[in-house]
């Protein structure tokens, strides 16, 4: 039986775990992009913005339902590729 259109994502509710890895610049690291966004917000007349730092979000779907293994794999991924720990911090959240 056809379920969903051809563009429907393959979601396996039972076995997949979802996680979010958030990568942010360490404090003290100059963020010229954040500064430019800050300036643009000011020119839009948006009040009360003291500063902006730009970061990255990775939404990851994992095979299997073992939470500990997932956390270990994501830590490995963040340390070895997703973040450059010289300049960036990362946070891992298992979201479901």
């Amino acid at each position: 039986m056809l379920r969903g259109g051809p563009t429907a994502p393959a979601v396996f509710e039972d076995s997949a775990m979802k996680a979010r890895v958030t990568v942010t610049l360490k404090s003290g690291i100059l963020d010229p992009q954040g500064k430019a966004i800050e300036g643009a917000l000011r020119s839009l007349g948006i009040d009360g913005v003291a500063s902006v730092r730009l970061g990255k979000v990775f939404d990851v779907e994992l095979d299997g339902a073992d939470r500990q293994r997932a956390e270990a794999a994501l830590k490995d991924a963040a340390e070895r590729l997703l973040a450059n720990t010289i300049i960036e911090n990362y946070r891992i959240d298992i979201v479901g």
């Binding site: 690291i29 100059l30 010229p32 992009q33 590729l81 450059n84």
Partner: protein
Amino acid sequence: MKSAVLIFPGINRERDMARTLKLMSGREPAMVWHADTELPPGTDLVVLPGGFSYGDYLRCGAIAARAPIMDAVRAFAGKGGLVLGVCNGFQILCESGLLPGVLMRNAQLRFLCREAFLRIERSDTPFTRGYNAGQVIRVPVAHGEGNYVADAETIARLEGEGRVLFRYTTPDGALDPGWNINGAINAIAGVLNDRGNVAGLMPHPENHVDPSIGPTDGRGMFAGLTAHFAQAA
């Protein structure tokens, strides 16, 4: 001098580099694919050229730094082999941990395609022996992320150990924020690893070697490297 030029998807300066290596050393370099796991036997110098490996996705050089060939480069450098990274190649060396620090977005947020003046900080390395310490050379730059950053401790160590090889200066060799084109800490344009065998820089000396197209200030680097191996042989 037997050199090897690495090719990653999205690299686009490998031919310039190969042409310069051939011109200056008299020997055609081997072109080595990123998915290879070995360098050609007898390689003297590995060069990571400029370009936009993997479209600069994630961070410049981040994905190329994890390519299979990089394990071979790490082993080669571990045995004292000479490795040079230019532009994206420098970014890849930093991402792979072979050089300290990281190249961030230019402070002015603009891609720079122009000439810069570089002061050679020391001439007693294989990469700079073709120059005099304090000499200023004129070389092209073409990058959006060349703003060298490292923590204060790393910068202090680099400076203390004389591992800053090149700095952006005025044409007279003076430090001036107006001539530090991308806002790099201490106007750092290129650095050396602790062992003295891995070097990286953002500018493109390989593009200033042929008098028929302009200045030849880049020749010193490749002439020096060639002389280094001629002497060793």
